[in-house]
Symmetry: C2
Subunit: 403 residues, 2 copies
């Protein structure tokens, strides 16, 4: 026990130091003093290699800065708060393509003109996350997203084609469940407003456990059946692990130990054991449930974010259940992650390794990788250990303050 | 000279044998006897891993079968012709999403229902190619494509966004130039009808040579200037080499030796020397003109098709100019290609290698890889050597029969 305690304390310290380095990197290189908002395309040394501003990452950075400011004494700095505000202002002013319509751009020019729009809900979700300090704005967008997902998706602009199956991507209920969690975290009224939605999301996510509980599939039919072909067999271990910790949070809110056990068994352990590369280590990006070759060129690459999700999921699973097997999986992922993704020279993490673990892209930020993707999990883990340092099993209530 | 002659003859033989194996693979595994058309998703051993039918590949396979039937005595077999006809019928019946509107699907179900539509011209271009034996149908679609490209692109369904630069992808004039070539090859009336379009395409392609002639850029502004950011710096060596041989064909039609020399210097030699991986061999998929890291995860992978384009381009360049340096580059690419992409066990080629040359995807067919991508270049090279076996420099007229 003493040794476990020491190991955990060492990881907490390491996570904290790493968080400081990551936040410093983005503070130094990403702030656009001229237009507000954040440069998201940063090279290895932090140099801006494109001044486009990706909206997912604008929203996440605003959210992350606010969270750091609120949760950590050492980040209670006006520079962080002012940058978060400038980022929020930038989004309020420019993210929506044709206000009062709520559809947001996927990427903006430096000065805020829309460059591309995705026909999905994710820009709008990250916009909502950024606005979590401004409940009116957040709720307005959230309600629009719920309308697209549960009632009528035609506003997203996707054509209805007779050969396209009515498929549900796990990413959608997963993302919504995360928003329910975030919006309700410090606001009981919102927690109540979205309680039914949270249950719906959890139920939809659970439909993605298929094949007699032997596989988590990324896409299923709307009534929860396996779809044919590559679409149906597609697996994304990082998403499954991420869905797992969103379900753990939900189980905690609901006081539901069966859901907790199910989330740990299917979304954490099953996904990890089938998604971990036994030869070179690390989590595959994509897999095929029949072990056929995926058609995505990048399927066998190792991306930083599934490893971030796995670290959070295993530490949270351990914290909830006290099962030391989960703690050892946390160590396994954390060791791989710190060894392979961390850039000791310039700070921050590489995002994209080849199967063997060699850096394939040296960028620190890009269309899908931003500050929150690195600082987020470090912040979660850094703020978690006090709970972990008590003796397992931890009473749920002592842990909810930290994650 | 005697030795060169021997080497060339050996390559011709090797190409011919390889062509036979590739055609046999697709004849055996891809024909859908039930609905017509071709299965395009084939695993390493030819097994259908998804019954979706990708329209680019349907069109190309019809075109390829027709061409093999017309150009090679040994492929003048009714099975080939019948399958080409069934594929053509399938496209005529199902490719267009909402006839009489001409927009085609990108992918269809096995029975022909549309699954996805791209907001580009490429499905329609490959449809046109498939119809090259039916001039009326081909011309109708071709004229629609020309309207989208040169007059009004709104029918493609792309939103006009104020932050999106008016960019031209080299793929567009390149593809059109190839269609001009194919439609006019055996039809003088069509050759005349599209002569001005051919000149326009060539001029637009040449605008992609930027930076005082030191780089071929994939995207430029509509008036031929470099664009800012990643979009502007994006390079695709395979496309540049492909554009190169389309320009060589155009130069031959026009009797324009200056264009020939320019195509060889900029699109063949410059693109090859900057696109070839000095460390592991093979052509990179994407590059950044400032040598920054591309943001596409697959940028450093080695794909079969840029190597196919390079083999054709260098052999054609040699055939046109008699410059032995081009022949040696052909050997260099052909040796890499046959060593790395060929599957000696099950036939056909792997399509996707990692940077080091290891097979990353074992599929033989997929959303973008079909029969024509392998058989096409082999057929071109297999039918070329008779011209190459005369003494260089070859009079252009003697060569045009073969390519």
């Amino acid at each position: 026990m003493e040794k476990e305690w020491e190991t955990l304390r060492a990881w907490k310290e390491r996570m904290g130091q790493e968080l400081d380095r990551v936040v410093a990197f983005w503070m130094e290189h990403s702030h656009d003093q001229e237009h507000g908002g954040f440069f998201t395309c940063l090279g290895r040394d932090g140099q801006v290699y494109d001044n486009l501003k990706y909206v997912w990452l604008q929203g996440r950075q605003v959210w992350m800065y606010c969270r750091l400011y609120r949760k950590f004494q050492r980040f209670r700095r006006s520079e962080l708060l002012d940058s978060a505000k400038a980022g929020g202002e930038f989004l309020l002013r420019y993210a929506r393509v044709a206000p009062p319509d709520k559809k947001c751009a996927f990427v903006l020019t430096q000065s805020g003109l829309p460059v591309k729009v995705q026909r999905t809900i994710f820009s709008e979700c990250f916009y909502t996350m950024a606005m979590s300090g401004d409940p009116n704005e957040a709720v307005e967008m959230m309600d629009q997203i719920i309308h697209w997902v549960r009632e009528d998706s035609s506003g997203l602009g996707r054509p209805q084609l007779p050969g396209a199956p009515a498929a549900e991507s796990m990413a959608v209920p997963m993302m919504l469940l995360n928003l329910v969690d975030q919006l309700g975290e410090a606001d009981e009224e919102l927690a109540g407003k979205y309680a039914e939605l949270g249950d719906w999301c959890a139920q939809r996510i659970l439909q993605h456990v298929q094949r007699d509980g032997q596989a988590v599939l990324e896409n299923v039919s709307e009534d929860g059946k396996e779809l044919s072909g590559c679409l149906g067999r597609h697996q994304n271990p990082g998403h499954a692990l991420e869905a797992g910790w969103f379900l753990l949070r939900h189980a905690l809110r609901k006081g539901n130990p069966e859901l907790r056990a199910h989330a740990i068994e299917k979304f954490l352990l099953l996904s990890f054991h089938s998604g971990w590369d036994p030869e070179h280590g690390g989590l595959f990006y994509f897999q095929d449930a029949d072990n056929l070759c995926p058609t995505q060129l990048e399927w066998d690459m190792k991306l930083w974010w599934p490893h971030s999700e796995a670290m959070i999921a295993f530490l949270m699973g351990y914290s909830d259940s006290g099962d030391p097997a989960l703690l050892h999986l946390f160590y396994q992922v954390a060791e791989y992650t710190f060894r392979q993704f961390r850039d000791p020279e310039y700070g921050e993490w590489f995002g994209y390794l080849n199967r063997e673990g060699k850096v394939a892209l040296t960028i620190k930020g890009g269309p899908f990788k931003g500050e929150c993707g690195t600082a987020g999990p470090l912040g979660l883990v850094d703020s978690a250990p006090p709970a972990l340092l008590t003796h397992p099993p931890f009473p749920p209530v002592s842990r909810s303050r930290f994650f």
